[in-house]
Symmetry: C2
Subunit: 235 residues, 2 copies
C-alpha cells in the first residue's frame, strides 16, 4: 500500500537544466552589453566549464569566469551583479512545473497519498523554486539536504521522509531523474523506485540497462498514479 510519494525537484518537476542554460546565456549577454571584453562564445564556453567543474549549485560561477577570462577592470563586481540580475530574471520569470505535475499532485491528493519533495542544494534557493513553482500547498513535507546535513546519494537521507511520515519503506515510492543519486539509495533501503527520463541531463545514455534496475521507468508523470493504483490493488 503506497502512502507516500517522494519527488526529486530539479529536472523531475521542472526543466531545471534548460532554464539554467537560458539564464546563463542571458547573463553572459548582459555582461557583454556592459563592456565585458570577450566574445559571447568565448565567455559562455568558459562559464560552462566553470559550471561543469564546480557544479551547478556553486555560488560564484561569474567570479570564476571573470578570473579565467583575465578580465582586469574596476567593473568586476558590476559585471557579476549584471550577470546575477540577468540570470535571476530569466530563471524565475520562466520557471513553471512540467505540464503533468499539478494534475498528478491533484490525483495523489484525492487518493490521500502524501507528497514530499526531497532535494539536494541550498535551502533558500530550493524553497524559492518551490514557491515560484507554487507547489507548496500540495506538499506534506519538504526536505532540503542543506537543512538536514546529509546529501544524496546517502541512503540515510532517504529514510528521513519515511520517519517523518511514519511509513515503512515499501509504503513509499521515489520519483527522480538521476539513477545514481536518486534510485540506487532507494533500492538499498527498499523504497519503490521510478526513474523518470526527462530534464536537460536526459540523453540516450540514460536508456542503458541499469543493474539493479529501477522498479519503473517513465517519460512523464501521467503513468505514476496508475502505477500506484496497481501496487495498491495487489496488496
Amino acid at each position: 500500500m503506497i502512502k507516500l510519494t517522494i519527488f526529486d525537484l530539479d529536472d523531475t518537476l521542472f526543466n531545471s537544466t534548460e532554464l539554467s542554460t537560458q539564464a546563463r546565456r542571458n547573463a553572459v549577454r548582459a555582461m557583454i552589453d556592459l563592456g565585458l571584453p570577450a566574445t559571447f562564445e568565448e565567455a559562455y564556453q568558459v562559464l560552462s566549464e566553470v559550471v561543469e567543474e564546480y557544479g551547478s549549485n556553486y555560488g560564484h560561477h561569474f567570479d570564476q569566469m571573470l578570473k579565467r577570462l583575465n578580465v582586469e577592470s574596476d567593473k568586476l563586481k558590476l559585471y557579476v551583479s549584471a550577470g546575477m540580475i540577468a540570470y535571476h530574471d530569466v530563471k524565475y520569470a520562466n520557471i513553471r512545473p512540467f505540464h503533468d505535475v499539478i494534475p498528478t499532485f491533484i490525483r495523489l491528493k484525492k487518493l490521500e497519498v502524501k507528497i514530499c519533495i526531497l532535494s539536494d542544494g541550498d535551502a533558500i534557493k530550493q524553497y524559492e523554486k518551490i514557491l515560484r513553482l507554487r507547489l507548496q500547498d500540495f506538499l506534506d513535507d519538504i526536505i532540503i539536504t542543506e537543512e538536514v546535513g546529509i546529501r544524496k546519494p546517502n541512503p540515510k537521507l532517504f529514510e528521513l521522509p519515511l520517519k517523518r511520515a511514519k511509513v515503512q519503506p515499501n509504503e513509499a515510492i521515489y520519483i527522480g531523474d538521476n539513477y545514481e543519486r536518486d534510485i540506487v539509495p532507494c533500492i538499498k533501503i527498499g523504497i519503490k523506485t521510478v526513474l523518470i527520463h526527462r530534464g536537460g541531463k536526459y540523453d540516450q545514455s540514460n536508456m542503458k540497462k541499469r543493474s539493479p534496475p529501477p522498479d519503473y521507468e517513465i517519460y512523464n508523470l501521467n503513468d505514476l498514479v496508475s502505477i500506484i493504483e496497481k501496487i495498491n490493488l495487489n496488496q
Copy 2:
C-alpha cells in the same frame, strides 16, 4: 570650476527608504500567507526593530525576526525564502530614479561635468540598484565602500573619486541626504556640499541649522545645474 559631481545613491537618486518599507510589508504578508503564526502588526513591528538595530544593509533580518517571534517550525527557511522573494519582487519591480535624476544627468553630460556615485554598502546589491535604475551609462565612476574597504563618514573615502578623476577638492561637488555621513567629511577636505532634503529619512528635524552648514540645501535636483553654473561663472 566644478569638473566632478559626486552623488550619494540611496534616498538621493531614488526613494530607498519608502521602497524598503513597502518591500518589508510585502515580505511579512508573504510569510503570514504561508502560515507564520503571528499577526501582521506584531511581525512587522518586530522586523522594524531588527532593521533599526542591525541596520538596513544587514543580511539576515528575516532570520532574526523569526527568532524574536519564537517561531518553532520546520518551515523556518521556507518563511525566510518567501520573505526574500516578496521583498525582492517589490523592491526591484518598483525601483526607479527620482523624476529629476535623468534630466539632471543629461544636463551635466552636456556641461562635460563628470558624474560619480559614491555609496555605502554591499557591492553586488548597490550595483544591482544602479543597473536596475539604468544609471550606468551616465557614470564616469562608481565607488562602493565594500570594494574599497573604507566607509562613510571617513574623509579618506571622499578623496578617492577626486584622485580617480584627477581633480582638486574645490573642483568637486557632493550631493547627499545625510548631513553627518555625507556632508561633514566633504567639508573637512574642501569638497563643495549640497544637502538634499528628500528620501524616507527626511523630516522636519533635518531642517535645523547645521554647523558647519552645507554650502547649499535643496529639495530636488532641479537647482543643481544652476548652482554649478553659478560657481563656474564666478571662477
